[in-house]
Every structure is written in structure tokens, then in C-alpha cells.
Symmetry: C2
Subunit: 223 residues, 2 copies
Amino acid sequence: MSTDTTRSAILTAAERLYAERGFGDVTLRDIVATAGVNLAAVNYHFGSKDELIAELFVTRSIVTNRQRLNELKAAESAGGGRAPIEAVLRALVGPTLRGCLGPDSQRSDAARFMIRAAIETIPPIRKIKNREIDHLRKFAAAMRRSLPGKPDAEIYWGLHFALAMAQQTVRDSERLLRLSEGACDLDDVDGVIDRVVAVASLALKTNMTGEAEAAERAEARKR
Amino acid sequence: MSTDTTRSAILTAAERLYAERGFGDVTLRDIVATAGVNLAAVNYHFGSKDELIAELFVTRSIVTNRQRLNELKAAESAGGGRAPIEAVLRALVGPTLRGCLGPDSQRSDAARFMIRAAIETIPPIRKIKNREIDHLRKFAAAMRRSLPGKPDAEIYWGLHFALAMAQQTVRDSERLLRLSEGACDLDDVDGVIDRVVAVASLALKTNMTGEAEAAERAEARKR
DNA sequence: GTCTATAGACTGATAGAC
DNA sequence: GTCTATCAGTCTATAGAC
């Protein structure tokens, strides 16, 4: 068995098992048994269990990030270098939600792996997430082009809230389904994307930093 | 050493170590060494490692949930049984954000433990979170009283997004701080609560289910 | 209730033969 | 690159002295 097939077999088996059973319940011995390779091969090819998980996560993240940037570029090109804020936010949250939500995501090991990664955040994955700030900065810049004059803090809060709604919907989809008893349809991925984009862009378009608004909020706080 | 002090010593030591180093890096032997008690005492008092973690999490959750309900009750009493939607949302997200954000939370083991629990979601904690749906139902009911005629799905999405923004701000505060390079002030807890409440109530007050709005969103999707 | 001592199984990681 | 064998660590769980 050549180098590449052993390596690939480990990656494929690991992704499937992590997707099915989560990170805590899968041992290296489970993975090598499924892959039909030797235990020491994991350390030889990846160095450690954490690095194996990191490789899986990085591979999948790159795909999502590229989709995001492609959508952003397409939207900005169509608008002559400036896209409406809705389009920028859609490029940001669309790929993640399409990848992790909807009926199809049940069948893809890659999608279920990324859902697990969103739920059971373990150290090797967290370290990688902390490195994606440069990627997000490109979206902050595009948002600034969409909303010239908007204070930076507002841009960052809007970006943060958009990601928060998207990621928490992936993380806690089960809770929302049970709470709403089916009233919220998570299989309608485009509908979910519309909602997240609508709320985030509504927040960004509304002036929430002016004195009048701050006073109103302070008033509401007292009530 | 009496029963209670041993039990308490284990809880105190466990909370501090989990807060400092996370769940994956702390063994029962670390805990009993810090607590100055015997290894077998953990099994005697808690049954298992997971039940020890569950006890810690439940204890802290009860405090937060009670604060939430107290604030909700106070707001609804002041309004004669119906509170403005802002007040309901504030009661929902305020206790969590006040507990986990701000300069003080750095010094409290309890706060740092809950932040860890929000970040490193492990099975025993996830099981408990799944049981808090009944608690959230009380807020859905209060929101329905605040916004009579609002479709249930809109209520649930609003509740979900409010929690998403609050919880993700706790989870990913470091990312937001680094991304914004200090432009977003997470030490201003009241300001953060204001923002979350403002965005969520804005989304709930705006009609996003009407035909005109759906058409507009469909249009925006094409652009 | 607390402790010592220990069982038995499992984990990730690695040295060294091939 | 692959394998065997093994290390040092972890876990739950328990028997039995005090």
C-alpha cells in the first residue's frame, strides 16, 4: 500500500468516525482499524492525534473560505468594486450555512465533521480558528466599502453578530428545532440565510450609535 | 474533615482547575491533589468525573436561570403582566453576559468556568443544556405577550438569534477583540447587552415575513 | 466518610526491527 | 513506510482497613 493511500485512508476513516461519534469517543485505534492500517502510521504521517484533526479541519475550512471569497468577489465585481451590504454578508454566512444545514448535510461526512467541529470545540480546532482573523478582515474591508462612513466598531459588531447567528444556528439547530416544535424550518437553507442576512444588515443600516439612539436605549434599560 | 468540606473542596478545586486549564487537560488526580483529598472521594461523592462536571455546571446554571426569571418577572410586573420586548430580551441575555463578560469575570473562577463550558462543550454539559428548553419556553411565552399577533416562528427565531449573539460573544470574545483591535469594547458589559437587545428587538419588530419583504429579500439574493 | 491499595482496561505516543 | 512491542499515563471501579 503506497504512502498516499495509507494517508488518505486514515483521513477518510477519521473524518467519518469523528462525524458519526464525535471527537471524544473516537480513539486512534478505532481509526486505524477502520482504515485498515497500522497504529504507528498515524504518528508517522501526522505526528499526533491533534495534528490529524487539524489537517481535517484545515482542509475543510479552506474550501469554505474559498467559496466565501469567490462569492464576495463576484458580488463586488457586479457592483463595480462595491457590493450592497446584504451581498457581502451573504457571501460571509452563505457557504457555512449551506455546508452545514439542510437535508443533504446529513449524508456528507465532511458536513457532519464540520458540525461536530462547531459543537465540540477542542484545542487543535480552536487554535486554527484563531488564525482565520486575516480572512475575516477581508470581509470587514468589503463591509466598509458597502457602508462608507460607518464607524469601524459598528462594522466589527455587525460582522460578529452575523457570524454569531450563522454559527449558533449550526451549533444549536437541535435546540431551536425542539423549542419551536417544527415552526422554524432549518431545511430551508436559503430561508435561514435570508434571515441571518436580513437581521445583520438591518442592524448595520440602523444608526445605533447616535446620541438619540443611545439615550433611547438607556431609557429602555430603566424600564 | 467532615463530609461537606471534602465535597466542597473537590468542587472548588475542580472549578478552579477547569477554569484555568480547560476540561481536556485536567485529570481527577489533579483535582484531588489540589483539593487535598483522596482520589476515591470523587467517586464516593459524585459517582463519576462527568457527574462532578455536571454538578458544577448545574449549580452555576441555576443561578443564571434564576436571575433571568427574576428580571423577567420584575419587568412584567412593572408593566402589568406585559413587558416591552426589549425588557424580555434583556432579562434573557443580561445575566449570561454580565456573568461572563467584563473585567471582573477574569477573577472569578465561576465565570471562567462558565466561559470554558461555553467554549469546550463536552458531553455531560451538552446533555444538561438540552434540558433547558423548558426554561427558554417561559421567555418565548413572555415574548408572545410582548408582541401579540407575531407568528410563533418569528418569536423563536428572535429568541434564538438573541441567544446566539450573546453566547457567541462570550465564546468568541477573543476573536472579536483581535479582529477589531480594541474598537469593540467588551468590558462595557451594559453596552454589549444594549447592542444585543437592540439588534434582536429590531429584528423582531420589523416585519420580515410579509410578501413585500420576502420579495425584497429574494431580489437582494439575485444581486 | 475517608482512606490505601489495587485491579483491569484503555489511551496517545514511540523505539527499533524490518 | 510499515510493523511489533511497549511505555507511561489515564480512566472507572472496588475491596477492605479505619
